[in-house]
Amino acid sequence: MTTDTLDVRSLANQAYKYGFVTDIEADEAPPGLDESTVAFISAKKGEPEWLLEWRLKAFRAWLKMTPPDWAKLKIAPIDYQASTYYSAPKKKDGPKSLDEVDPELLATYEKLGIPLGERARLAGIAVDAVFDSVSVATTFRAQLAELGIIFCSFGEAVREHPDLVRQYLGSVVPQGDNFFAALNSAVFSDGSFAYIPPGVHCPMELSTYFRINAANSGQFERTLLIADKGARVSYLEGCTAPQRDENQLHAAVVELVALEDANIKYSTVQNWYPGDAEGRGGIYNFVTKRGACRGANSKISWTQVETGSAITWKYPSCILEGDNSIGEFYSVAITNNLQQADTGTKMIHLGRNTSSTIISKGISAGRGQNTYRGLVKIMPKAQGARNYTQCDSLLIGDKCGAHTVPYIEVRNPSARVEHEATTSKISEDQMFYCLQRGLTSEDALSLIVNGFCKEVLKELPMEFAVEAQKLLAVSLEGSVG
């Protein structure tokens, strides 16, 4: 394909579809971060003493830490004192049903196409919507409660199920785990909590949509999901953010715990605002996601489609402690324009006959930089451990970059670890074939990219798969070359 037949850069660059600002009177903490900010947040949420102490411990650890510098990311220094660490929609006694939810909020979700209320019910999704930091509506609670499933905002879990929260909070991602996790542990505002009791198979996909709204408000969600013995759950997390000119900080922590025979599937579509074509604005997304397969025969599967954010720093990981436990990581990451992503996973094999699979598809376009970074570590006791890793990178345009940085550390001779990676340009033959059959170059690209990502996309729950495919196409608009 030559540039004559296909001058793609001239194709219109569709503006970010979800760029609008909701006008809501925010209840904000003053900008800046010290122990009193932490105390303010904790007080605002009416937290017990132990949690305040826990936050302060994290904060003190954070003060001694420096941001990680090993990722292939160029990040302008972040002034953590300039951010606001708490922002909640004004509370009018709290909504008891959907009718009581601020109509403007609902309208926002509608624009985003979030299936809430009736639509949620139709779609069979229980939604715990997080709007800037505080959970505002939860549906299907009653239905889930009948099965003993707890699905609520993090704040509510602290009030209603303090023992569970206390037992598991920080048990997978300790407060001082890394710079961003420590920051989150100190100032997390809200998030989701789910507990699936022994033997229960959660009958519907649990879902949370995150939004970042107020200007300069960092968002620090915290998700804690526990699948007790023999439980099964599939959790969807999606996010879109309104357009902003300044970079917004997002540092979330997700902790998953799978006990014996439990099975957790965690799917993410991340579509935060990526910044404009010149790299102005966009979300800084520093996320610590980790799951512990504590029990024998447990399984944790991460699937992510990362199309948004200016910066993505994210390594959903599995600690395979239980014998025969399984960890999976399926990822699609797209970087276009000036986006940078450094993402991948860690599979830590501790138990016998543990196995892990990593499938990563990176797509770089424009001046985007995309790095897969992964660790597969087989510890001495992990007799018979297995790992298979496949990382493919696709390059679209000659100004982008694709990097693959796997670490493989094997300390048990009965282990078998295989890693394969390829990097290539989008196939001219395939493009030509599609064009020759009458597809537009954008459609052809979208078709080929979707094919490239198929192994990952097929892991997504149906509801998400369609959205994800559309997102891939939107993210790559204006990039064929």
Binding site: W70, I378, P380, S393, L395, I396, G397, D398, K399, C400, G401, A402, H403, T404, V405, P406, Y407, I408, E409, V410, R411, N412, P413, S414, A415, R416, V417, E418, H419, E420, A421, T422, T423, S424, K425
Partner: protein, 432 residues
């Protein structure tokens, strides 16, 4: 702990008679080493390499000693035509064999070159000891600049083809702990062809720190085999820098079997278009050996082809490390680069760490890497045993096949056969 002290103390006597520019280079390089100190595992590039043996011990500069011809005889390549032997890092004219080279070919001791004993090559010295960009970061390179007494230099004038392999033997003989710094260079002119094989051997407790710079000019073809078969108490650090000009071909193979701690760094810059390289090797480790192979292949120009295959066999409590990075710069369109690292992990307490890496800034490329770590293939083992071959023999056959598969990539058959003999020797010592 390795410090500059012993090198500074002996500086005036050891380097007496060297030209001023070199003395100055050495002093600033030693100062640089003093500032840098030893690399630590907190540095990303050194995270898998355990340098404790260097921290625990002082290694005095090596004395000049002589070794018997029988000490090197078992390691000589059949049919090699020309030879330089360096004993404790110093040229040994008795054991070397410099005659019979085609006209214009330079094969000499580096010391002779820097002291202007080789007419017409006075400019070569500054080139050999020139400051590379890496020296600022790489302490062993700095120390080498400061301390290396000698080495070999091979210069091949344009159009010359050298038929028989050139052989370099680095042998160390240490009665007490000592360090051997060697500094060498290969300059292959345009349209030349040559094969060179370097062998590192020795006895006693010593630290060999070898630096080699290679330049392959346009359309030249260079075959380069390195065998590191040091004694069991030796430490080896090696740094090889290679620059390839357009349409040149460079085929290398590194066999690591010796030493208790070894680290070989290779930096290869494909600076000319349409160059081809093969950077292959094998590390065969047992006991409590530690070895790291760290390569960076930097594609700077378009149309280059790279093949990198490293195979590791790691037994008992040994620790094998592969860190290989393939870098493709934006200008290096149409790069075709493939890297493969396969490891057999055969000991209950053996460890393999591998970090194959692709860093790609050009879009029209075909790059891949693969890495595996595991035991012998069970199906193959059963097949052999089902034909009556006893377990130990079957394992040996598969280990041999695994390693030989890499050695078979060596194009110069004389060097290939020589490597096979080393492999056989190593296999014969396999534990049952």
């Amino acid at each position: 702990m390795v410090t500059t002290k012993p090198f500074l103390e002996t500086f005036d006597t050891v380097h007496a008679g060297e030209p001023d520019w070199l003395l100055q280079r050495r002093r600033s390089a030693l100062a640089r080493f003093g500032e840098l100190g030893l690399p630590t595992r907190r540095q990303e590039n050194w995270r898998f390499t355990n340098l404790r043996p260097l921290e625990k011990q002082e290694f005095a500069p090596g004395d000049s000693v002589s070794v018997a011809a029988t000490a090197i005889a078992p390691y000589l390549v059949e049919g090699a035509g020309h030879r330089i032997v360096l004993v404790n890092g110093r040229f040994d004219s008795g054991l070397s064999k410099l005659d019979g080279l085609p006209a214009g070919v330079l094969l000499a001791s580096v010391k002779a070159i820097v002291s202007n004993d080789v007419p017409g090559f006075f400019l070569l010295g500054p080139q050999i000891f020139g400051e590379g960009t890496e020296e600022a970061k790489q302490p062993f390179l700095a120390l080498n600049t400061g301390a290396a007494l000698d080495g070999f230099a091979l210069g091949i004038p344009a159009g010359t083809k050298i038929e028989r392999p050139i052989e370099i033997v680095h042998i160390a003989d240490a009665a007490s702990p000592l360090s051997v710094n060697s500094r060498s260079a290969i300059l292959a002119g345009e349209d030349t062809k040559a094969s060179i094989i370097e062998t590192f051997i020795g006895t006693g407790e010593y630290w060999q720190n070898a630096v080699l710079r290679v330049q392959v000019a346009a359309r030249a073809e260079l075959h380069h085999v390195t065998i590191q078969d040091h004694g069991s108490e030796a430490i080896h650090t090696g740094s090889t820098t290679i620059h390839l000009a357009e349409k040149s071909r460079y085929n290398s193979f590194n066999l690591t079997v010796g030493g208790r701690l070894a680290r070989q760094d290779v930096y290869l810059a494909m600076s000319g278009a349409d160059a081809t390289c093969a950077v292959d090797g094998a590390y065969l480790l047992r006991g409590s050996q530690e070895a790291t192979m760290a390569t960076l292949i930097d594609h700077q120009a378009p149309g280059c082809k790279t093949r990198e295959v490293f195979k590791g066999v790691v037994e008992e409590q040994a620790h094998g490390v592969f860190q290989g990075k393939i870098q493709v710069r934006q200008a290096a369109q149409k790069t075709d680069a493939h890297q493969l690292n396969k490891n057999l992990l055969l000991g209950e307490r053996a460890i393999v760490d591998t970090k194959p890496e692709l860093e790609i800034f050009a879009d029209d490329v075909k790059c891949s890497h693969g890495a595996t770590v595991g035991d012998l293939d069970e199906a193959a083992m059963f097949y052999l045993r089902a034909r009556g071959i006893p377990e130990k023999q079957a394992r040996n056959m598969l280990v041999e096949a695994f390693a030989a598969d890499a050695i078979d990539l060596v194009e110069d058959l004389r060097l290939q056969q020589h490597l096979r003999r080393h492999l056989d020797r190593w296999l014969a010592g396999r534990p049952s």
